[in-house]
Symmetry: C2
Subunit: 483 residues, 2 copies
């Protein structure tokens, strides 16, 4: 067994069998929706619904108690009223179950001592029986490559490279649709709730070892074991990038977080300091968290901070240049050889200085394949931003203009866009340098989909793409100093 497989979280994320509490013939209850969702994703392990009265739930044989289930299950999931949770956990312990996800809320996040006390009782029971549990007050976990999704949202993205530990269930489940916008997804995702046993630091250790996780995303309302977190994060960020979005730095965010998961927040400056000493890249919004993860998880580290900008639109080029400087990057000074090579390829109105602005493009092929290659060959260029725009209607105009019949033109245009996108993505990958694209078009445009699906991250604006490249540089710089 590898270290990864020996980690306590491994079997929670790779269960061979699950016992499920809280589903019933009331198909509108949260538990029923979660179980239906687990089944519909095609999880292949055994699933045992537990219900005191009902003999069958969602087509599965149900058991009245865990003791009746014919095997010792790998994972117990509770979607139960708060008060019955401690008793059921006790039963699980007696039945030899070693892992649980406690979705039920109403514990330490509630005001007053009662909830906290009940949560302490859960921990005592778990320790007595050697149980590891996630939650309470969480939404569960997702491991898409295993079709494991214990949440109540269908997983709409692909299995991906982002491993996430979140102090909000929504920032797991409601990100499925967000990540799908870019054709990316989670490798593993944890909703941690009140973190009675398993916290952010535990997930960091686990995700550091997870082979499909290329970057770690954290949503933080407050860190519980500060010193331990720092120690783990410093170690992990030497191996994999960690990006964190922290909302507890403002008074309003702190209070909202506290009533949400009972986490202890601290002022912005404190968390800035923690993140900086750990090599954690801080994101300022959920969108930025995933923008950064997208680029940090898919692109190689740059050697320096000098960026090349390729555009055929002056405004997006200027916006990219402005964002680059604000993100700590410098515009690369292209070598005379590069400028000479560019001058042969571009129209007279174009600028062969950085930003390289092609203005009106007659030849998309040059733009997507040849020009990136020329720029990436320049030793002055450490990172490259490409403003991407090859909408189908434009290509069709050109193809139809060449006299092709419209019936074959559409196929021709699609193939052309596909070929050019693959060429651009390959040129980027072959260079060994980080490249990001920006476009106001989304995946409904073929060029965006093809670029993204071939490994070139395309973000929804020049500013967002360049800002993410800046984050990649800051991480690379930290690695250079501390590794």
């Amino acid at each position: 067994m590898s270290d990864f497989e020996e980690h306590p979280l491994y079997r929670i994320m790779h269960p061979r069998s699950i016992a499920f509490w809280g589903a019933s013939s009331n198909s509108m209850s949260m538990g029923s929706i979660q179980l239906a969702n687990l089944l519909s994703m095609g999880f292949e392990g055994a699933v045992y619904p537990i219900h005191p009265k009902e003999p069958e739930i969602l087509g599965l044989k149900a058991y009245s108690k865990i003791g009746d289930v014919p095997e010792t299950v790998d994972l117990a999931i509770f979607v139960l009223p708060t008060k019955v949770v401690p008793g059921v956990l006790e039963e699980c312990g007696q039945a030899g179950v070693k892992r649980a996800i406690i979705v039920s809320a109403g514990f330490s996040e509630k005001e007053g001592p009662e909830g906290k006390e009940m949560q302490d009782q859960l921990v005592r029971t778990a320790k007595k029986y050697g149980i590891t549990f996630i939650g309470p007050n969480c939404i569960g976990a997702v491991n898409p490559s295993l079709n494991l999704n214990t949440t109540f949202f269908p997983y709409e993205a692909t299995p991906g490279f982002i491993g996430m530990a979140s102090e909000s269930g929504s920032f797991i489940t409601q990100m499925f649709v967000h990540l799908a916008k870019f054709g990316i997804g989670f490798s593993q995702g944890f909703s941690l709730g009140n973190e009675a046993m398993i916290d952010l630091a535990d997930c960091l250790e686990y995700l550091a070892q997870c082979p499909t996780t290329k970057v770690i995303a954290l949503y933080v309302e407050g860190i519980r074991r500060g010193r331990h977190f720092v120690e783990v994060a410093r170690r992990v960020s030497r191996i994999k990038p960690i990006v964190a979005f922290y909302v507890g730095g403002s008074e309003a965010g702190r209070r909202a977080g506290q009533s949400h998961t009972g986490a202890m927040a601290g002022p912005d400056r404190l968390y800035d300091g923690i993140f900086r000493q750990c090599g954690i890249v801080r994101a300022r919004s959920i969108e930025e968290l995933f923008d950064f993860c997208y680029v940090l998880g898919s692109q190689p580290l740059p050697r320096g901070n000098k960026i090349g900008i390729l555009t055929h639109s002056g405004g997006p080029g200027a916006a990219a240049a402005d964002s680059a400087e604000r993100a700590g990057l410098k515009l690369a000074k292209l070598t005379p050889e590069t400028q000479e090579a560019l001058a042969k390829l571009v129209p007279g109105t174009a600028s062969v200085k950085n930003p390289v602005d092609l203005t009106f493009t007659r030849n998309h092929g040059d733009y997507m394949e040849i020009l990136p290659k020329v720029l990436l060959k320049d030793e002055q260029v450490d990172l490259l931003f490409i403003y991407c725009l090859m909408p189908q209607h434009r290509v069709m105009t050109v193809v139809l203009g060449s006299g092709m019949a419209s019936i074959s033109a559409s196929e021709f245009a699609e193939n052309y866009i596909r070929d050019q996108s693959v060429a651009a993505a390959s040129a980027a990958a072959d260079s060994g340098k980080p490249v990001a694209g920006g476009s106001f078009c989304d995946r409904s445009e073929l060029f965006v989909k093809e670029l993204q699906d071939h490994g070139l991250p395309v973000l929804p604006s020049p500013e967002r793409a360049v800002t993410a490249l800046g984050a990649l540089y800051r991480y690379a710089n930290w690695r250079k100093i501390f590794s």
Copy 2:
């Protein structure tokens, strides 16, 4: 004639006839694409292609020179090689044409004195004949309600309420698809290029009078007539909100802008000061520019800065609260009456303090209609943010769970989502208070489309929606002080 109709830009944006230079039998040239685009949008005025040799272009009778055209056209559009532009402008002047859009580049934005000199010549010619022109080095203009689109991009959005003046053509044309993401659009859009005659301040004056323009967007690489701009902007922003995205504040942005349109930039602090004294709201990216315009152009002004946050997801609620404080808003302290009213409507795990967090929602109807009404009635609440999430699959689960046959369930679910969205949008509108929604879902989800189409702005994340509400408050505050 109204003041609006007397403005020199009115007839450029409402031409009854157009002469067009630069289209030809080469359908792949930029001019041909632009003319084809103008025609395909269904512009109803007369269009006269001018070409020295070709008798017919894109199915229209072509004229060898402007003097041959049977009427004095309202507008001339040049997509011509730089060197021939001055001569053609002279011919226009002799033929009595009073308005032009000069798309051709290669003037003052080029290094060296030659381009600048040619541009000065254009201005001299224009003044001699009383011509007003936009450009050179621009991409044209768009007035969607008139089906006027002189650019080379199809207008994919709806006629909207955002009037834009831009020192980048791309930030007109490539925004068509961006605005379409929200179901909004331009009222009027100007690409100004080198601003030899018509500049940002002229557009501000015109857009201030334009009845369909509810908010003015500026993309700024540099302001040319500083004192005049300030004088105009201060006047206009007392009537309509102005939002500006400025990229010249960094050294990299300044240089990129200069080679783009030759605009003179200044340090960030200077422009911050200019914007502040004019009541212009500054946006930090193109996305933010349109986020702000969306909310400032569609929502009433708040009386104060106290925001209510309605959510059923703790993370998005905390992120919204954090963003609110960073954007200068305060979390409203709900009155005891409101908290009492809420307590009756929400489950035990919910928080009836602000953020109002419903946790797991059984009743979407309460969430979308009743709860917003309760919160908007509270005199402590000046603005409201609603985290929106009513995906079709969730509603279908509930509807199917109630035993309805799947064939009628889908229609039922759609009607339900539509009704709830309309109810939420109406509750917002009836309150007279500003409301914005945030959702990670896009318009492919019916609830987003319906909310947006009924006037409730929905932005792609809680942070973006709340930040835009913060911008609205800052503008309202400025109006309160200076109007």
